[in-house]
Symmetry: C2
Subunit: 188 residues, 2 copies
Protein backbone atom coordinates (compact mmCIF):
# COMPACT_ATOMS: atom_id res chain seq x y z
CA UNK A 1 0.00 0.00 0.00
CA UNK A 2 1.54 3.40 -0.89
CA UNK A 3 1.07 6.67 1.00
CA UNK A 4 -1.78 7.83 -1.21
CA UNK A 5 -3.79 4.61 -0.87
CA UNK A 6 -3.24 4.72 2.85
CA UNK A 7 -4.54 8.29 3.04
CA UNK A 8 -7.68 7.33 1.13
CA UNK A 9 -8.42 4.37 3.37
CA UNK A 10 -11.84 4.79 5.00
CA UNK A 11 -12.27 4.87 8.78
CA UNK A 12 -10.46 8.05 9.65
CA UNK A 13 -7.31 8.60 11.62
CA UNK A 14 -7.52 5.50 13.81
CA UNK A 15 -7.79 3.13 10.85
CA UNK A 16 -4.98 5.00 9.10
CA UNK A 17 -2.67 4.69 12.11
CA UNK A 18 -3.59 1.01 12.41
CA UNK A 19 -2.69 0.39 8.76
CA UNK A 20 0.59 2.32 9.04
CA UNK A 21 1.64 0.44 12.15
CA UNK A 22 0.71 -2.94 10.62
CA UNK A 23 2.73 -2.11 7.53
CA UNK A 24 5.72 -1.03 9.63
CA UNK A 25 5.62 -4.31 11.57
CA UNK A 26 5.33 -6.37 8.38
CA UNK A 27 8.32 -4.54 6.87
CA UNK A 28 10.44 -4.90 10.02
CA UNK A 29 9.65 -8.62 10.31
CA UNK A 30 10.68 -9.23 6.73
CA UNK A 31 13.86 -7.14 7.10
CA UNK A 32 15.04 -8.32 10.51
CA UNK A 33 12.96 -11.27 11.64
CA UNK A 34 10.84 -11.62 14.75
CA UNK A 35 12.31 -10.43 18.03
CA UNK A 36 14.77 -8.04 16.41
CA UNK A 37 13.00 -4.69 16.76
CA UNK A 38 11.37 -2.52 19.40
CA UNK A 39 8.12 -0.59 19.78
CA UNK A 40 10.17 2.59 19.26
CA UNK A 41 11.40 1.35 15.88
CA UNK A 42 7.88 0.42 14.79
CA UNK A 43 6.64 3.87 15.86
CA UNK A 44 9.44 5.68 14.00
CA UNK A 45 8.80 3.67 10.82
CA UNK A 46 5.04 4.22 11.02
CA UNK A 47 5.40 7.93 11.81
CA UNK A 48 3.44 7.74 15.07
CA UNK A 49 4.32 8.23 18.75
CA UNK A 50 5.42 5.26 20.89
CA UNK A 51 2.60 6.14 23.27
CA UNK A 52 0.00 5.64 20.49
CA UNK A 53 1.20 2.07 20.09
CA UNK A 54 1.25 1.30 23.81
CA UNK A 55 -2.21 2.90 24.25
CA UNK A 56 -3.75 0.84 21.47
CA UNK A 57 -1.95 -2.52 21.73
CA UNK A 58 -0.41 -2.51 25.22
CA UNK A 59 2.77 -4.39 24.27
CA UNK A 60 4.95 -5.37 21.32
CA UNK A 61 3.77 -8.97 21.75
CA UNK A 62 0.11 -7.98 21.47
CA UNK A 63 0.89 -5.88 18.38
CA UNK A 64 2.74 -8.77 16.70
CA UNK A 65 -0.19 -11.04 17.41
CA UNK A 66 -2.65 -8.54 15.96
CA UNK A 67 -0.60 -8.24 12.77
CA UNK A 68 -0.31 -12.01 12.40
CA UNK A 69 -4.02 -12.53 13.00
CA UNK A 70 -4.94 -9.89 10.41
CA UNK A 71 -2.64 -11.60 7.93
CA UNK A 72 -4.08 -15.04 8.66
CA UNK A 73 -7.64 -13.78 8.34
CA UNK A 74 -6.84 -12.12 5.03
CA UNK A 75 -4.96 -15.05 3.52
CA UNK A 76 -6.55 -18.09 5.12
CA UNK A 77 -10.18 -17.17 5.86
CA UNK A 78 -12.30 -20.04 7.14
CA UNK A 79 -14.13 -21.51 4.12
CA UNK A 80 -17.87 -22.17 3.90
CA UNK A 81 -18.37 -24.60 1.01
CA UNK A 82 -21.50 -26.32 2.31
CA UNK A 83 -19.83 -29.60 3.33
CA UNK A 84 -17.38 -30.49 6.06
CA UNK A 85 -15.10 -32.39 3.67
CA UNK A 86 -15.09 -29.40 1.32
CA UNK A 87 -14.42 -26.92 4.13
CA UNK A 88 -11.57 -28.96 5.61
CA UNK A 89 -9.97 -29.71 2.23
CA UNK A 90 -10.13 -26.04 1.26
CA UNK A 91 -8.78 -24.89 4.61
CA UNK A 92 -5.97 -27.46 4.66
CA UNK A 93 -4.94 -26.53 1.11
CA UNK A 94 -4.91 -22.81 2.03
CA UNK A 95 -2.77 -23.40 5.08
CA UNK A 96 -0.40 -25.64 3.06
CA UNK A 97 -0.04 -22.91 0.43
CA UNK A 98 0.48 -20.20 3.05
CA UNK A 99 3.12 -21.98 5.12
CA UNK A 100 5.13 -23.13 2.11
CA UNK A 101 5.01 -19.63 0.57
CA UNK A 102 7.67 -16.92 0.77
CA UNK A 103 6.95 -15.82 4.38
CA UNK A 104 5.78 -19.31 5.13
CA UNK A 105 6.56 -19.87 8.73
CA UNK A 106 5.48 -16.44 9.95
CA UNK A 107 2.99 -17.88 12.42
CA UNK A 108 5.29 -20.59 13.67
CA UNK A 109 8.19 -18.17 13.99
CA UNK A 110 5.94 -15.77 15.88
CA UNK A 111 4.79 -18.56 18.21
CA UNK A 112 8.41 -19.50 18.90
CA UNK A 113 9.38 -15.86 19.49
CA UNK A 114 6.40 -15.26 21.77
CA UNK A 115 6.81 -18.46 23.75
CA UNK A 116 10.35 -17.46 24.69
CA UNK A 117 9.22 -14.01 25.72
CA UNK A 118 7.73 -14.36 29.19
CA UNK A 119 4.10 -14.08 30.32
CA UNK A 120 3.13 -11.30 27.88
CA UNK A 121 4.37 -13.40 24.97
CA UNK A 122 2.54 -16.51 26.14
CA UNK A 123 -0.64 -14.51 26.67
CA UNK A 124 -0.39 -13.06 23.17
CA UNK A 125 0.22 -16.52 21.64
CA UNK A 126 -2.81 -17.79 23.57
CA UNK A 127 -4.98 -14.93 22.28
CA UNK A 128 -3.99 -15.68 18.70
CA UNK A 129 -4.71 -19.37 19.10
CA UNK A 130 -8.04 -18.68 20.84
CA UNK A 131 -9.28 -16.44 18.02
CA UNK A 132 -8.37 -18.90 15.24
CA UNK A 133 -9.82 -21.78 17.28
CA UNK A 134 -13.09 -19.84 17.65
CA UNK A 135 -13.27 -19.34 13.88
CA UNK A 136 -12.45 -22.98 13.19
CA UNK A 137 -14.98 -24.23 15.74
CA UNK A 138 -17.69 -22.10 14.08
CA UNK A 139 -16.95 -23.91 10.79
CA UNK A 140 -17.12 -27.30 12.53
CA UNK A 141 -20.36 -26.31 14.30
CA UNK A 142 -22.02 -25.50 10.96
CA UNK A 143 -21.18 -29.08 9.87
CA UNK A 144 -22.63 -30.50 13.07
CA UNK A 145 -25.82 -28.48 12.55
CA UNK A 146 -26.11 -29.92 9.02
CA UNK A 147 -25.93 -33.40 10.58
CA UNK A 148 -22.36 -34.10 9.46
CA UNK A 149 -19.79 -35.58 11.82
CA UNK A 150 -18.91 -33.71 14.98
CA UNK A 151 -15.26 -32.70 15.21
CA UNK A 152 -13.46 -30.48 17.69
CA UNK A 153 -11.08 -27.74 16.66
CA UNK A 154 -8.41 -29.61 18.66
CA UNK A 155 -8.74 -32.65 16.34
CA UNK A 156 -8.09 -30.39 13.36
CA UNK A 157 -5.12 -28.79 15.13
CA UNK A 158 -3.58 -32.14 16.11
CA UNK A 159 -4.10 -34.11 12.90
CA UNK A 160 -4.24 -31.58 10.05
CA UNK A 161 -2.41 -28.39 11.06
CA UNK A 162 0.30 -29.94 13.27
CA UNK A 163 1.63 -32.45 10.67
CA UNK A 164 1.80 -29.69 8.04
CA UNK A 165 3.54 -27.20 10.34
CA UNK A 166 6.07 -29.73 11.56
CA UNK A 167 6.95 -30.88 8.04
CA UNK A 168 7.55 -27.27 7.02
CA UNK A 169 9.57 -26.63 10.18
CA UNK A 170 11.75 -29.64 9.41
CA UNK A 171 12.20 -28.62 5.78
CA UNK A 172 10.14 -31.55 4.43
CA UNK A 173 8.60 -29.52 1.61
CA UNK A 174 6.73 -29.21 -0.68
CA UNK A 175 3.59 -30.66 0.91
CA UNK A 176 2.06 -32.96 -1.70
CA UNK A 177 -1.65 -32.14 -2.27
CA UNK A 178 -2.49 -35.88 -2.02
CA UNK A 179 -0.79 -36.09 1.35
CA UNK A 180 -2.70 -32.98 2.57
CA UNK A 181 -6.04 -34.44 1.36
CA UNK A 182 -5.07 -37.71 3.07
CA UNK A 183 -4.81 -35.94 6.43
CA UNK A 184 -8.38 -34.66 5.99
CA UNK A 185 -9.72 -38.03 4.84
CA UNK A 186 -8.13 -39.86 7.75
CA UNK A 187 -9.64 -37.42 10.24
CA UNK A 188 -13.12 -37.69 8.70
Amino acid sequence: MNERERARRPGGRSARVGAQVHQAVTDLISERGHGNFTVGEVAARAGVADSSIYRRWGSLEALLTDVTLARLNARSPMPDTGSLAGDLRTYAAQVAREITGPDGLAVVRLAVALSSNGPEGLQAAEALRAERTRQLQAMLDRARERGECALDASDVLDHIMAPMYIRVLFGMVPLAPDWVDGLVDRLL
Copy 2:
Protein backbone atom coordinates in the same frame (compact mmCIF):
# COMPACT_ATOMS: atom_id res chain seq x y z
CA MET B 1 31.08 -31.60 33.29
CA ASN B 2 34.02 -29.84 34.97
CA GLU B 3 37.54 -29.53 33.56
CA ARG B 4 38.83 -32.55 35.44
CA GLU B 5 36.02 -34.86 34.27
CA ARG B 6 36.55 -33.60 30.77
CA ALA B 7 40.28 -34.32 30.99
CA ARG B 8 39.60 -37.88 32.20
CA ARG B 9 37.15 -38.60 29.41
CA PRO B 10 38.34 -41.59 27.41
CA GLY B 11 39.06 -41.35 23.69
CA GLY B 12 42.02 -38.98 23.68
CA ARG B 13 42.32 -35.49 22.33
CA SER B 14 39.65 -35.73 19.67
CA ALA B 15 36.96 -36.83 22.12
CA ARG B 16 38.08 -34.16 24.58
CA VAL B 17 37.83 -31.41 21.98
CA GLY B 18 34.42 -32.76 20.93
CA ALA B 19 33.15 -32.62 24.52
CA GLN B 20 34.55 -29.11 25.09
CA VAL B 21 32.96 -27.80 21.92
CA HIS B 22 29.60 -29.43 22.70
CA GLN B 23 29.63 -27.92 26.16
CA ALA B 24 30.49 -24.48 24.77
CA VAL B 25 27.59 -24.67 22.32
CA THR B 26 25.16 -25.83 25.01
CA ASP B 27 26.23 -22.95 27.26
CA LEU B 28 25.98 -20.35 24.48
CA ILE B 29 22.53 -21.58 23.43
CA SER B 30 21.24 -21.32 26.99
CA GLU B 31 22.80 -17.87 27.47
CA ARG B 32 21.95 -16.27 24.15
CA GLY B 33 19.57 -18.49 22.22
CA HIS B 34 20.02 -20.04 18.81
CA GLY B 35 21.41 -17.86 16.07
CA ASN B 36 23.10 -15.43 18.43
CA PHE B 37 26.73 -16.60 18.36
CA THR B 38 29.49 -17.40 15.90
CA VAL B 39 31.97 -20.22 15.35
CA GLY B 40 34.66 -17.88 16.71
CA GLU B 41 32.77 -17.48 19.98
CA VAL B 42 32.28 -21.22 20.34
CA ALA B 43 35.99 -21.75 19.69
CA ALA B 44 37.04 -19.15 22.25
CA ARG B 45 34.74 -20.60 24.89
CA ALA B 46 35.93 -24.17 24.19
CA GLY B 47 39.60 -23.14 24.10
CA VAL B 48 40.20 -24.49 20.59
CA ALA B 49 41.06 -22.87 17.25
CA ASP B 50 38.29 -21.83 14.83
CA SER B 51 39.95 -24.01 12.22
CA SER B 52 39.51 -27.13 14.41
CA ILE B 53 35.77 -26.55 14.39
CA TYR B 54 35.55 -25.92 10.66
CA ARG B 55 37.74 -28.97 9.94
CA ARG B 56 35.60 -31.27 12.06
CA TRP B 57 32.07 -29.95 11.53
CA GLY B 58 32.30 -27.82 8.39
CA SER B 59 29.81 -25.13 9.52
CA LEU B 60 28.07 -23.70 12.57
CA GLU B 61 24.83 -25.27 11.34
CA ALA B 62 26.36 -28.75 11.20
CA LEU B 63 27.82 -28.26 14.68
CA LEU B 64 24.46 -27.16 16.13
CA THR B 65 22.83 -30.21 14.59
CA ASP B 66 25.48 -32.52 16.04
CA VAL B 67 24.97 -31.06 19.52
CA THR B 68 21.19 -31.36 19.28
CA LEU B 69 21.38 -34.95 18.05
CA ALA B 70 23.75 -35.93 20.89
CA ARG B 71 21.32 -34.37 23.34
CA LEU B 72 18.32 -36.13 21.82
CA ASN B 73 20.10 -39.49 21.80
CA ALA B 74 21.09 -39.06 25.44
CA ARG B 75 17.70 -37.91 26.70
CA SER B 76 15.23 -39.61 24.36
CA PRO B 77 16.86 -42.88 23.24
CA MET B 78 14.61 -45.13 21.18
CA PRO B 79 13.03 -47.63 23.59
CA ASP B 80 12.99 -51.42 23.12
CA THR B 81 10.28 -52.75 25.42
CA GLY B 82 9.33 -55.83 23.39
CA SER B 83 6.00 -54.49 22.08
CA LEU B 84 5.13 -51.73 19.63
CA ALA B 85 2.53 -50.22 21.97
CA GLY B 86 5.10 -50.21 24.79
CA ASP B 87 7.81 -48.70 22.60
CA LEU B 88 5.55 -45.95 21.24
CA ARG B 89 4.05 -45.11 24.64
CA THR B 90 7.52 -44.90 26.20
CA TYR B 91 8.90 -42.83 23.35
CA ALA B 92 5.93 -40.45 23.29
CA ALA B 93 6.13 -39.95 27.05
CA GLN B 94 9.89 -39.24 26.81
CA VAL B 95 9.38 -36.67 24.07
CA ALA B 96 6.51 -35.06 26.00
CA ARG B 97 8.70 -34.77 29.09
CA GLU B 98 11.65 -33.44 27.12
CA ILE B 99 9.77 -30.74 25.19
CA THR B 100 7.86 -29.49 28.22
CA GLY B 101 11.06 -29.39 30.33
CA PRO B 102 13.31 -26.39 31.02
CA ASP B 103 15.02 -26.27 27.60
CA GLY B 104 11.93 -27.76 26.08
CA LEU B 105 11.78 -26.40 22.61
CA ALA B 106 15.50 -26.74 21.84
CA VAL B 107 14.88 -28.95 18.82
CA VAL B 108 12.02 -26.89 17.48
CA ARG B 109 13.94 -23.66 18.03
CA LEU B 110 16.94 -25.18 16.26
CA ALA B 111 14.77 -26.29 13.35
CA VAL B 112 13.32 -22.78 13.06
CA ALA B 113 16.78 -21.21 13.26
CA LEU B 114 18.22 -23.61 10.70
CA SER B 115 15.32 -23.35 8.28
CA SER B 116 15.81 -19.57 8.10
CA ASN B 117 19.52 -19.97 7.53
CA GLY B 118 19.93 -20.84 3.85
CA PRO B 119 20.99 -24.11 2.21
CA GLU B 120 23.52 -25.11 4.91
CA GLY B 121 20.86 -24.74 7.57
CA LEU B 122 18.31 -26.75 5.61
CA GLN B 123 20.87 -29.46 4.94
CA ALA B 124 21.73 -29.64 8.65
CA ALA B 125 18.05 -29.84 9.63
CA GLU B 126 17.60 -32.61 7.07
CA ALA B 127 20.59 -34.54 8.46
CA LEU B 128 19.16 -34.33 11.98
CA ARG B 129 15.77 -35.49 10.85
CA ALA B 130 17.24 -38.33 8.76
CA GLU B 131 19.22 -39.73 11.69
CA ARG B 132 16.28 -39.68 14.11
CA THR B 133 14.00 -41.13 11.41
CA ARG B 134 16.48 -43.98 10.87
CA GLN B 135 16.46 -44.78 14.60
CA LEU B 136 12.66 -44.60 14.77
CA GLN B 137 12.24 -46.78 11.69
CA ALA B 138 14.55 -49.42 13.25
CA MET B 139 12.20 -49.54 16.25
CA LEU B 140 9.16 -49.88 13.94
CA ASP B 141 10.93 -52.57 11.88
CA ARG B 142 11.50 -54.68 15.00
CA ALA B 143 7.72 -54.57 15.60
CA ARG B 144 7.05 -55.57 12.01
CA GLU B 145 9.47 -58.51 12.37
CA ARG B 146 7.61 -59.63 15.51
CA GLY B 147 4.43 -59.67 13.42
CA GLU B 148 2.97 -56.50 14.94
CA CYS B 149 1.45 -53.79 12.79
CA ALA B 150 3.57 -52.10 10.17
CA LEU B 151 3.97 -48.35 10.67
CA ASP B 152 6.19 -45.85 8.92
CA ALA B 153 8.32 -43.33 10.78
CA SER B 154 6.33 -40.64 8.93
CA ASP B 155 3.08 -41.82 10.59
CA VAL B 156 4.72 -41.39 13.99
CA LEU B 157 6.04 -37.96 13.01
CA ASP B 158 2.65 -36.77 11.69
CA HIS B 159 0.34 -38.12 14.38
CA ILE B 160 2.40 -38.40 17.58
CA MET B 161 5.35 -35.99 17.43
CA ALA B 162 3.70 -33.19 15.44
CA PRO B 163 0.65 -32.70 17.72
CA MET B 164 2.92 -32.61 20.78
CA TYR B 165 5.38 -30.15 19.25
CA ILE B 166 2.66 -27.82 18.02
CA ARG B 167 0.88 -27.76 21.38
CA VAL B 168 4.13 -26.85 23.10
CA LEU B 169 4.88 -24.22 20.44
CA PHE B 170 1.47 -22.67 21.00
CA GLY B 171 1.86 -22.72 24.77
CA MET B 172 -0.86 -25.39 25.24
CA VAL B 173 0.96 -27.10 28.10
CA PRO B 174 1.24 -29.28 30.10
CA LEU B 175 0.60 -32.27 27.82
CA ALA B 176 -1.77 -34.56 29.73
CA PRO B 177 -0.42 -38.16 29.85
CA ASP B 178 -3.87 -39.47 28.82
CA TRP B 179 -3.86 -37.24 25.77
CA VAL B 180 -0.34 -38.43 24.83
CA ASP B 181 -1.35 -42.10 25.25
CA GLY B 182 -4.45 -41.34 23.17
CA LEU B 183 -2.28 -40.21 20.25
CA VAL B 184 -0.49 -43.59 20.36
CA ASP B 185 -3.71 -45.60 20.68
CA ARG B 186 -5.32 -43.77 17.77
CA LEU B 187 -2.32 -44.45 15.54
CA LEU B 188 -2.22 -48.16 16.48
